[in-house]
Amino acid sequence: MAAQAPQPRDTLSGLLAELWRDKLQPSRSGAGRETLSGRFIHGALFLIATLSAFVTVGIVLVLIFETIEFFRIIPFGDFFGSTEWSALFAEGQFGVWALVWGTVLIAVMALAVAVPLGLLAAIFLSEYAAPRLRAVLKPLLEILAGVPTVVYGYFALLTVSPIIRSIFGEDVGIYNALAAGVVLGIMIIPMVSSLSEDALNAVPRSLREGSYALGATRFETAVRVVLPAAFSGVVASIILAASRAVGETMIVTIAAGGNPQFLVDPLEAVQTMTAMIVQLSLGDTPTTSVEFKVLFAVAMTLFVMTLAMNVFAQWVVRRFREEYE
């Protein structure tokens, strides 16, 4: 009798294949059979895909571990219950609200610049610009997002700050929140404009045509029909831009100064959470010190803030999306 190919079960590889058969079924009907090497590839790709989950776990673990260490030394109440921050002094104060306030102040200024400009750009690109003009303008706007942030920092400190000083007088410091906020706003314009424009474009043509048929002008159509219809996408783009502004580091480190205070005056120097992390990283703080551990507590606060904003943006898109056929 001619030698037969061994039954799959007789070999180790066949046994493994048998074991994995249930787990590695093709996901789509009509998909081809999988060989052993195909299964191996499938498994390897699966592991690679789960790596992103491990990155998240890694970030959370790293932050939580040192944060718990920090709260063993400094009570919870001193961190969240105070507005005094003087981490680098002996007997330092660790009231994180001073840093959160600086972050929010600069993010609000950035949004005050980016939201009007970005929305106008989005409405222009989506409702007014000819396709050819749009094909040129959109990539050019997105170039703004591709410029390294340290370059924006250079402009904030050496170009915008002198202009602000020439407007408001010499008693304004070189380092001020306004310069950082304005330049940060310019940086996040493409986030607002690009995402909003996608949302505006997704509004079906029939809505616009219905509006025109009722005698509305182009502006009325854009502002009263298209914009409300794309509301969820526009809001999500603004939230995402805000989250980017909160997490941005180099502009505020270079231009906003290092003055963690609870100030409302945008011409004063402030310090954000990210800038504080950089400041502490630049010094050679020993890894056992409180100054090192507080870095992670602040980063944890930052991480939770940005994560909440991202999740909120996703929720807004899901919850308030208008479905059109």
């Binding site: 790596l51 992103s52 170039i143 250079y154 940005t306």
Partner: protein, 432 residues
């Protein structure tokens, strides 16, 4: 809106001719490119030129070319570029016979060379205008003619590069303008620099400063980052698009990737500090920095690779399955080749994000004085953005000038990468 009557020869109508000229797509692109060029780079270039009283920056003749040959600095690139521009303006290139085209090239190069020389002379004048160093002072104290020529020089490079981006956006297939523009840009940047700026180590005195270790460190780190991030990112995208069932797990991974893309970069720096620098004991090495960057850009790579995989039509896969291909054969031989261009574009864009990131490296403690080159992946290193940060934060204005010219180098690298990505995207784009 045509006033031409049938049967009569069209008369020359200046207004129509003008409108045609301005509606000619190239002029439009140039105009927009120049506008953006003013905002982005013009001020920077002028600042380098005007503040360049100290040694690192000198006019082209003193920098890189022999005495008396300085005019070549500007005449050469313009002579290279003009033959490509003029026929395009006339919309006639395809209709001209090759000898006529060659003649037109030579003829147009001559005035261009003269024009370039004039610009160069203006450039040299401007260099000796010492104004106390502010761009507005320059504009008020220099003559109108000087200002015009300075601005012209400042616009040449960004204009050329953005014309490349514009062509990409217009989905033109022939990239014949691209390479002259690249040559032009590289030549211009080279001339802005003192000899040795690219090839010297950093120094405590701004007039002997160089960025060689930072340049090498950037390239080194980018290579390792790419080697780590591409396979992982593309592999994850293939799994999610081609293998994963639509269940809670793949949804979880998707949401997770979206959230990872929103994590501030400095948090990645802290992850790298704890994971790579301390636990795995890579120290503050190229390897630790590169792996941190790889984690940072992985979400971008995954998302863009997923998009290009999704763009491959299902009929392509079904046809391959129908002739008996296994799943991996379908992916390897049919899906990947078609999605490859889009993936590469996403990868380049991700790399251009990584090349400019500063915060994670600073959080890892990579801001140190490095005057040597990294030999092995475990050596200390420095990169361009860190050097820029270092110099910007110093009080002496001489260091600010050094920072400005390092920024020019960094932006040049970025623009080249982005142009390459755009060109590649439009070349690989296929309509189904």
């Amino acid at each position: 809106m045509s006033f031409t009557t049938r049967g009569t020869a069209p008369a020359f109508r200046p207004r129509l001719a003008l409108r045609r000229l301005f509606s000619s797509t190239f002029l439009l692109g140039c105009f927009i490119a120049i506008c953006v060029g003013v905002v982005l780079l013009g001020a920077l270039v002028i600042e380098v030129v005007v503040d360049g009283g100290s040694v690192p920056f000198a006019p082209p003749s003193a920098a890189s070319l022999p005495d008396g040959m300085g005019w070549l600095a500007w005449a050469f690139p313009i002579a290279v570029l003009t033959p490509f521009l003029l026929p395009r303006l006339a919309h006639r290139r395809s209709e001209l016979a090759p000898p006529a085209f060659a003649a037109l090239c030579v003829l147009s190069a001559l005035p261009a060379a003269i024009f370039g020389h004039l610009i160069y002379v203006g450039f040299e004048d401007a260099y000796y205008v010492k104004t106390g160093g502010h761009i507005f002072d320059l504009l008020s104290e220099a003559t109108a003619w000087q200002t015009f020529r300075i601005v012209l020089v400042g616009l040449l490079l960004p204009g050329g590069l953005l014309a490349v981006a514009w062509r990409g956006a217009r989905r033109l297939r022939s990239p014949s303008l691209v390479w002259p523009a690249v040559i032009l840009a590289a030549w211009g940047f080279y001339l802005f620099l003192e000899p040795g700026f690219l090839s010297s180590p950093p120094s405590q005195s701004p007039d002997r400063i160089g960025i060689f270790p930072a340049l090498v460190g950037t390239l080194y780190m980018m290579t390792i980052t790419a080697a780590a991030a591409f396979p992982l990112g593309i592999g994850a995208a293939i799994y999610l698009e081609e293998y994963a069932r639509r269940n809670w797990f793949s949804r979880f991974i998707q949401v997770n990737i979206a959230n990872l893309a929103g994590v501030p970069s400095i948090v990645y720096g802290l992850l790298g500090l704890q994971l790579f620098v301390r636990v795995l004991e890579f120290d503050r090495s190229v390897l630790a920095g590169a792996l941190t960057m790889a984690l940072l850009v992985m979400p971008i790579i995954i998302v863009s690779a997923q998009e290009s995989l999704r763009a491959v039509p299902p009929s392509m896969r079904e046809a391959a399955y129908a002739v008996g291909a296994t799943r991996w054969q379908v992916i390897r031989h049919h899906v990947l080749p078609y999605a490859f261009g889009g993936m590469l574009t996403g990868n380049i864009l991700a790399m251009s994000r990584a090349i400019g990131e500063t915060a994670p490296l600073i959080a890892m403690g990579a801001l140190t004085f490095i005057a040597f080159l990294p030999d092995t992946p475990t050596d200390d290193f420095t990169v361009l953005p860190i050097q820029i940060f270092n110099w910007v934060t110093r009080p002496q204005s001489a260091f600010h000038e050094v920072a400005a010219s390092t920024i020019l180098i960094l932006l040049l690298i970025l623009l080249l990468m982005n142009s390459a990505a755009i060109i590649m995207r439009h070349r690989s784009r296929t309509e189904w």
